[in-house]
């Protein structure tokens, strides 16, 4: 399997005052195409910093990071923006949707920073919304959508630029367990059908059981890196749940 992400001897230091803090200590990691990785670890273990570097939002102090064959470690601000735009989709715990902006326009946002024409932008946004089961909600504003639906809009936004990887930081942290299953089901489907590499940071060991690979962080180092032979299937678990009166349960 070709590696989408390849990290070698990655070090990240922060200097808080005179004392340097070593957040990541010599990490090496390879993630292949189509993997579903769950990253776990206590707060302050360095997993967020790693996510920031993987997401090209931050630069490593030393070491190399190759994303989809491109060495991105020391690219400039705007070059990193370009990489994020083309190769990475972000899903955040707090959704981070633009208020008073329709679902469709929220999804289009990454395409606004490309040369893609308006007609194609609308088209691709509509398709991405269909892919997350929100067909017909294009004109809804975030305030008119439930938490789960908002997170699905955010997933559609992460999808719309056809990224190599999707980075999700606690994507199920702000939703109930049923919605959480729905989101994981979408992730698994995108992972299987589109071959998008998923990297999910989570506190919830339950969420990690749906990933094909679990990486545990502690004190800036990888403590455990295990491949899961039989990850659970979120769609099956969802179907097994008793039906709810809530309308979004019957979607998809």
């Amino acid at each position: 399997m070709a590696a989408v992400i390849e990290i070698k001897d990655l070090v990240k230091d922060y200097s808080l005052g005179a004392v340097p803090v070593h957040v990541l200590k010599n990490i090496s990691l390879k993630v292949g195409r189509g993997e579903f990785v769950a990253i776990m670890g206590p707060s302050g273990s360095g997993k967020s910093t790693l996510m920031n570097i993987l997401g090209c939002l931050d630069k490593p102090t030393s070491g190399t990071y190759t994303l989809d064959g491109i060495s991105v470690g020391q690219l400039s601000r705007d070059e990193l923006a370009e990489i994020r735009n083309k190769k990475i989709g972000f899903v955040f715990q707090q959704f981070n949707l633009l208020a008073r902006t329709s679902a469709s326009e929220n999804v289009e946002l990454p395409l606004m920073y490309t040369e893609i024409a308006a007609a194609e932008r609308h088209d691709r946004a509509a398709k991405a919304l269909v892919a997350v089961g929100l067909a017909g909600r294009e004109a809804h504003q975030p305030s008119q959508l439930s938490g789960g639906q908002q997170q699905r809009v955010a997933i559609a936004r992460a999808l719309v630029n056809q990224p190599r990887i999707i980075l999700a930081d606690e994507p199920t942290g702000a939703v109930d367990s049923r919605t959480s299953l729905e989101i994981l089901a979408i992730f698994q489907r995108l992972n299987r059908e589109e071959g998008i590499t998923m990297i999910v940071v989570t506190h919830d060991p339950d969420v990690a059981t749906y990933a094909s690979r679990n990486i545990h962080f502690k004190d800036g180092k990888i403590r455990l890196d295990e491949m899961m032979a039989h990850p659970r299937d979120a769609q099956k678990d969802l179907d097994a749940l008793p039906a709810e009166a809530e309308p979004e349960a019957v979607l998809v």
């Binding site: 920031n52 997401g55 939002l57 931050d58 601000r77 705007d78 923006a81 370009e82 994020r84 735009n85 083309k86 972000f90 955040f92 981070n96 633009l98 008073r100 902006t101 946002l109 990454p110 606004m112 920073y113 490309t114 040369e115 024409a117 936004r157 630029n161």
Partner: protein, 411 residues
């Protein structure tokens, strides 16, 4: 182009979302631009009115008055003794190359009678050259001719004010008015000139041939039958005024046999220069008013900067998100810059409309003439755009260089 359009779209949306705030921010620019337009309008209007008055007295005009003379050590005031003559006028016209025309004149106050009405006015005895020099045109009838002057014909040309007071609205041409018991035939009426720069009614006048005026109305100077009270001289070009003045002074000193070191017995006054000083003071006022109004435009700009800074802080997370999904530095920069410029331009446009309305109101109610030139509108527009760029740049830059990680984490 596509990207700029997108920036404009994003900016307009952001402004729409915060309607009240956008409107209040714009208000600063609206007031600034409106003040500049109205104030400059008032200033320009005043300048234009003074210019029109200066033109009404005639162009390139120099007045020669009889000067003070010393008689046995007693200095007499200007005009006390008639030292200028019709011959002086002829000599100046003939010998000074920078002078294009000379009109001698005598003047005095009289009571004019027509039918049952009478009116106190000024009579001026002149030659036909006077009409050219003062840029007079005829409202009706004709000006008298040189033949009339030679023949001391009893003809008169009236100013509009005199006509109004004696004849009402009927045409006086051909009528006979009595001046000092002498009947004069009215041959023409002058086109009104309005106020002179010194505030006199230039239309309250009767023009007679200089010969007739002296013989029949004002009386001849007993010492010198040819004496006149003023010479109106027109220089050949605006640039020749000083030259003409020097030539005349030299010629008159020679003709009046004034020794070197002695005072002139005449006074030369460059009228255009005197009134040009008034014009420049009006221009200074116009600039001053504009400058004061510009201050409010700058204050408006600071208002924009303030609100943009608040807006950047408020939308930190949004900026972080935009950066995360691929917005480059210049994308964010242009988004906020376009927002600031949109605010200031929109405010500028509203300000122009209000400024135009304000100057129209000032004209109407304060009876001041105002003049808003297309140039000042264009300037106000461009200036308000510049205010937007100038005061929007700092907040936009601040937004563009936010750290995406911190921006995303911002609460």
């Amino acid at each position: 182009m596509n990207k700029l359009l997108v920036s404009v779209k994003i900016a307009l949306r952001a402004l729409r979302v915060n309607r009240t705030r956008s409107a209040l921010t714009m208000l600063g620019i609206v007031i600034g631009v409106a003040a500049v337009i109205a104030m400059v309008g008032v200033g320009t209007g005043a300048t234009a009115r003074i210019q029109a008055q200066i033109q009404s007295i005639g162009s390139n005009l120099i007045v020669v008055l009889p000067g003070s003379i010393s008689s046995n050590g007693v200095r007499l005031g200007s005009g006390a003794v008639a030292t200028l003559t019709e011959d002086d006028a002829k000599a100046i016209a003939a010998e000074c190359p920078s002078v294009s025309a000379v009109a001698p004149s005598v003047r005095g106050g009289v009571q004019v009678v027509y039918g049952s009405s009478n009116w106190a006015t000024t009579v001026q005895g002149v030659t036909p050259d006077y009409m050219t020099i003062r840029d007079y045109t005829m409202l009706s009838g004709e000006f008298f001719t040189n033949q009339d002057v030679d023949a001391a014909a009893k003809v008169a040309v009236l100013g509009e004010t005199v006509v109004q007071n004696l004849f009402g609205n009927s045409d006086p041409t051909g009528q006979v008015a009595i001046i000092k018991n002498v009947p004069f035939t009215v041959v023409g009426v002058l086109t009104p000139k309005g106020q002179s720069p010194s505030g006199q009614d230039q239309d309250d006048i009767i023009l007679l041939p200089i010969s007739t005026a002296k013989q029949k109305v004002l009386g001849t100077n007993k010492a010198n039958a040819k004496a006149v009270s003023t010479l109106m001289v027109q220089a050949s070009a605006p640039g020749a005024m000083n030259q003409a003045q020097q030539e005349m002074e030299a010629l008159l000193r020679e003709r009046h046999r004034i020794q070197a070191g002695q005072d002139d017995d005449f006074t030369v006054r460059n009228l255009t220069e005197v009134f040009a000083a008034q014009e420049s003071s009006a221009q200074v006022m116009s600039i001053l008013l504009g400058a004061i109004a510009s201050v409010s435009l700058v204050v408006g700009g600071i208002g924009i900067m303030n609100i943009m800074l608040v807006s950047v802080t408020e939308r930190t997370r949004e900026i972080g998100l935009r950066q995360a999904v691929g917005a480059k530095t210049r994308d964010i920069l242009s988004q906020f810059l376009v927002e600031a410029v949109t605010l200031s331009l929109l405010g500028g446009m509203i300000g122009i409309v209000i400024g135009l309305a304000a100057s129209a109101l000032i004209s109407h109610f304060a009876q001041w003439s105002t003049q808003v030139s297309p140039l000042s509108i264009l300037l106000a527009f461009v200036f308000s755009a510049l205010v937007g760029v100038f005061f929007g740049y700092y907040p936009a830059r601040k937004a563009a260089f936010l750290d995406p990680i911190e921006a995303l984490r911002y609460e």
